[in-house]
């Protein structure tokens, strides 16, 4: 796969000694939908701004299409940004907004007209040329912003929390639409968000960032099913994470003990008896029963949340820890019922965190 954007050991600091981004390297491949996911203040927007050139890198190099653009002005980089609140020019019509970039490139009027018409058709806004941004709905504004970016045929389109200001229903719709546009045009999208649902829905690849450092990268499936740290497991989706202790090591499996229950996980060469391992299981992967069961975790239902297609149960194990259980449809249990929770070995993900710097 061809690399379109390459970040080489980039760092950013606004104050001497304090780094927002520290020594980060990243390759972005042609045609992919890449999401930078992280909580607010983790530095994801700064990374995006360093790619667009609106922010200088303190250290390191930025390459776009194999060219070193570290010192290149944002006006000359072949990337375009869709800003958080779209940043449509309020004193210009849709036509003027969308054609702005081409006018700056001094392209002739006839060609501008053709390209604007074409791109507005693509985002299904033909006929809106003479409207002002304030006369458009949120979703329409969003589409103008996309049109204004993709008309430039950028190597990469950067999207900065571009759906955050839309209401939930529109957001879901635009997620699918964005993905469709991206597939159709084949342009690389780098999308920044703090919304893990959004990341899972749209991305080909997700980069999870915390405190300016990449925590994990992979496809949505990889990240959801095999988080490599407690942080990622907790950040993506809901999870039950237990601290368990290794009690036995076999040829290819390790037995851990948690609350007197034993679970088997694949063996890691660094495993030692007595060592602590986090085991994680997703709430939808556990089975709940009122009958006692061997190796089942006993608990009392504290809260039941009915959520339409699923029901969420919060189970309390005598105050030691809480368990989350998700079941399809509705349940017959009442709050206060004693239940047994069965966790199958195959649903357990072991998280062995090597570096405990913090």
């Amino acid at each position: 796969m061809k690399t379109v954007v390459k970040l080489e050991n980039i760092s950013k600091s606004y104050e001497k000694g304090k780094y927002v981004i520290k020594n980060l390297s990243l390759d972005v491949y042609e045609g992919e939908f890449l999401t930078l996911l992280g909580s607010s203040g983790c530095g994801k927007t700064t990374i995006l701004r360093m790619i667009s050139g609106l922010e200088h890198v303190t250290d390191g190099k930025v390459y776009i299409d194999d060219k070193d653009v570290t010192e290149v002005d944002p006006t000359k980089r072949e990337v375009n940004t869709i800003f958080q609140n779209f940043a449509l020019f309020p004193h210009m019509t849709v036509y003027e907004n969308v054609s702005f970039g081409l006018k700056m490139k001094k392209i002739n009027k006839q060609e501008i007209k053709e390209r604007v018409t074409e791109v507005l058709k693509l985002v299904e806004l033909d006929g809106f040329e003479e409207r002002y941004p304030s006369q458009l709905s949120g979703g329409q504004q969003q589409r103008v912003a996309i049109a204004r970016g993709i008309i430039m045929n950028p190597k990469v389109l950067l999207l900065d929390e571009s759906l955050a200001s839309l209401d939930l229903k529109l957001k879901k719709m635009m997620q699918i639409e964005l993905k469709k546009i991206q597939k159709k045009l084949g342009i690389t999208f780098i999308y920044v968000t703090h919304d893990q649902d959004e990341a899972l829905t749209m991305s080909d690849r997700i980069i999870i960032i915390e405190k300016g450092v990449i925590k994990q990268e992979g496809s949505p499936k990889e990240i959801y099913e095999h988080p490599n740290s407690v942080f990622v497991a907790d950040f993506i989706g809901e999870s039950n994470i237990f601290k368990s202790t290794i009690i036995h090591i076999d040829e290819n499996k390790t037995i851990v003990d948690f609350d007197g229950k034993h679970f088997s996980i694949p063996r890691n060469e660094k495993d030692e008896i007595g060592k602590m391992v986090n085991i994680m299981v997703r709430p939808e992967n556990v089975t709940i029963s009122t009958e006692p069961f061997q190796n089942a975790i006993k608990g009392v239902i504290k809260t039941i949340v009915y959520d339409g297609s699923i029901t969420k149960l919060f189970v309390d194990n005598e105050g030691d820890f809480d368990l989350r259980v998700t079941v399809k449809g509705s349940v017959d249990y009442k709050e206060g019922d004693t239940t047994y929770i069965i966790v199958d070995d195959k649903d357990i993900v072991a998280i062995r965190e090597e570096n405990h710097e913090e």
Partner: protein
């Protein structure tokens, strides 16, 4: 119902209080009687008189030359100043911000005297030039304050978006920044213009021979009582200012069409 009548009555009283003096002034400028007491008949004689009065006509031209030059200069300088104060960080920035308000709040007479002493000290001959200079200096803070109020975080993003789309600094300024801060620029210019047009105190100190302005002329004319030609003159001034103000408001209204409904 009663409540509504009372409300309308109050509104009517306020309007009468505000506009009656102006209406009387305009009416009396067409009065045949020399006294501002009774309306005796309609005439345009006072207007004719005006156009034969060379001193007045000269003052009239002076006033507008001063107002227009000082408005244009102070608007350009004030806008640049406001942008500089908003965009850049430098030493003593907050102190300069504070200094801006001093010319706005200090008594005009103090400003007038201090300007006069500067001109005397620098041996600048009092006249049109010193008048224009003085008007520029007291207008700039008003322009800066007015322009500065239009800056916002979203303007920063618009500018970034323009750069992202390939617009250099100059194009970004003329295509994005200026249209966006236009309301502030126009209201700053309007303020500067009206302040210059009716300034008496500062002009009194900084005018010299051959640079008489209308407010100064009227001020000296009414020492001997208000004559109907003063009425005619002020009516004309009123008309001219209104035309200018309305056209500025019209431009402003058109510029921000579509921005806010």
């Amino acid at each position: 119902m009663k409540h509504k009548t009372l409300k309308n009555l109050i509104i009517a009283l306020i309007l009468i209080f505000l506009y009656l003096p102006i209406i009387i002034l305009v009416l009396y400028s067409f009065n045949t009687s020399k006294m501002n007491v009774l309306f005796e008949g309609f005439t345009l004689d006072w207007y004719k008189n005006l156009f034969n009065n060379r001193t007045l006509l000269e003052a009239f031209t002076n006033t507008f030359i001063i107002a227009i030059t000082s408005t244009i200069t102070s608007t350009v300088l004030g806008t640049i100043g406001a942008i500089g104060l908003y965009k850049y960080n430098f030493k003593f920035k907050s102190f300069i911000n504070l200094l801006l308000y001093i010319p706005i709040v200090i008594p005009e007479i103090v400003l007038g005297i201090s300007l006069l002493s500067v001109y005397t000290l620098t041996k600048l001959e009092l006249g049109m030039f010193t008048l224009i200079l003085s008007h520029i200096s007291f207008s700039i803070p008003f322009v800066i304050v007015s322009v500065r109020s239009t800056f916002s975080k979203s303007l920063d993003t618009y500018e970034e978006a323009a750069k992202d789309l390939g617009a250099d600094d100059i194009k970004t300024f003329f295509k994005i920044t200026l249209p966006q801060i236009m309301p502030g620029v126009i209201s700053g210019a309007t303020l500067a213009f009206t302040l210059s047009l009716d300034d008496v105190v500062i002009s009194y100190f900084t005018a010299g021979p051959g640079s008489n302005t209308l407010p100064l002329q009227i001020y000296s004319m009414i020492k001997t009582g208000i004559s109907p030609d003063v009425n005619a003159l002020t009516t004309l001034m009123l008309l001219v200012t209104m035309i200018i103000l309305f056209s500025l408001t019209f431009i402003q209204g058109r510029k921000i069409v579509g921005e806010k409904k």
